[in-house]
Symmetry: C2
Subunit: 209 residues, 2 copies
């Protein structure tokens, strides 16, 4: 007799399966039917029943990671309150992502999923822009900007985009190597990213017209 | 009567169509049959007849951009010979890509194609590693490293990866905006990248065990 499943079990199963398949094959290569099959659900309409459209499913995967990431960010923010050291705020930018990846261990697909989301031309807005920045993310962003009073706002915005791109894509490339000692991998990755981003943000900007 | 086509016309048409479709939908979402249809070729086997496997096709697209990019790199290298200024070598790293994108004008898909190639976990090796660095790329890389004698080799390798990631993904995000004045867009992008990468490479590295 198979163990009876609650709707919550089924939802979680769909989220995990879809995340892995999207990360591996790209969001548009995978149908809801393939996700249902791979998740071992008899019912082909399970995905749309539980999540609605593919956009809703993508957003649900993203949101399932947001709460644990926000908790990590909150703790780091408590430690950095009032700091005017750029590296502290870069730590608040990088570590919630890498520490969350550490907590996911060897079976994480989240970095690759996020990278796919940033690369898919049609999905970028859908997945992240609608969801918006959280209040804590805004605090990190504002505090980081206060450490860079001389950087023209347009250059600052450009470097914010570079920082996000770098964090997500570097982690996505490392993620397949997160096997036995994922904590060491993600710690080294975070150290390398904070060092590099400190240089990236502090670099003088060539004047432009 | 339709204009008769040489095999060279057909090959070029397949390359352009496949590049755009791969850039838009991801390499694994697009079948050879869909490429043949979209390219308006009657024959469904045209792609495999002209290129072989999908891996061969991906490599052929990449190689079709390599010669013009190498010519741009060669010119820049002539101007920088003997320089010990990091920014000169970063210019040789960034500008061949952005200047080639400028020459492609408003209809370029090459940055997004390359970004897909870097993001697809299965394609990364296949597309670029097998092809290898060119002699000119190696010269740029070696000269750049000589400007950073104090950076531990492992950190230097990490930053090389970050630089490649940043150049390709930043350009991929900007490429849809390459409309009327693509030269201005790519010039501003190159200036911003060289500034940011100078800081990224010169940032002190936190000692690691």
């Amino acid at each position: 007799m198979t163990r009876s499943k609650t709707p919550e079990d089924t939802r979680r199963r769909i989220l995990e399966t879809a995340e892995r398949m999207f990360a591996e094959h790209g969001v548009f290569s995978v149908s809801n039917r393939q996700i249902s099959d791979e998740a071992g659900l008899g019912n082909n309409t399970a995905v749309s029943y539980h999540f609605g459209s593919k956009a809703d499913l993508v957003r649900a995967i993203y949101l399932s990671h947001r709460e644990p990431t926000e908790l990590l960010r909150e703790k780091l923010l408590d430690r950095c309150a009032g700091s005017t050291d750029l590296r502290d705020w870069l730590t608040c930018l990088v570590r919630p992502f890498t520490d969350h990846l550490t907590s996911l261990g060897a079976n994480s697909w989240y970095a690759r999923f996020t990278a796919q989301l940033m690369t898919e031309p049609k999905l970028r807005e859908l997945g992240l822009v609608e969801v918006g920045q959280t209040a804590l993310q805004r605090t990190v962003s504002d505090s980081l900007h206060r450490c860079l009073p001389d950087l023209p706002p347009a250059v600052r915005a450009e470097r914010d985009e570079m920082a996000r791109t770098l964090i997500v894509h570097v982690c996505a490339r490392r993620e397949p190597g997160a096997t036995d000692d994922s904590a060491a991998l993600w710690n080294a990755t975070a150290v390398g990213l904070v060092d590099a981003l400190a240089g990236l943000y502090e670099a003088p900007a060539t004047p432009r017209d």
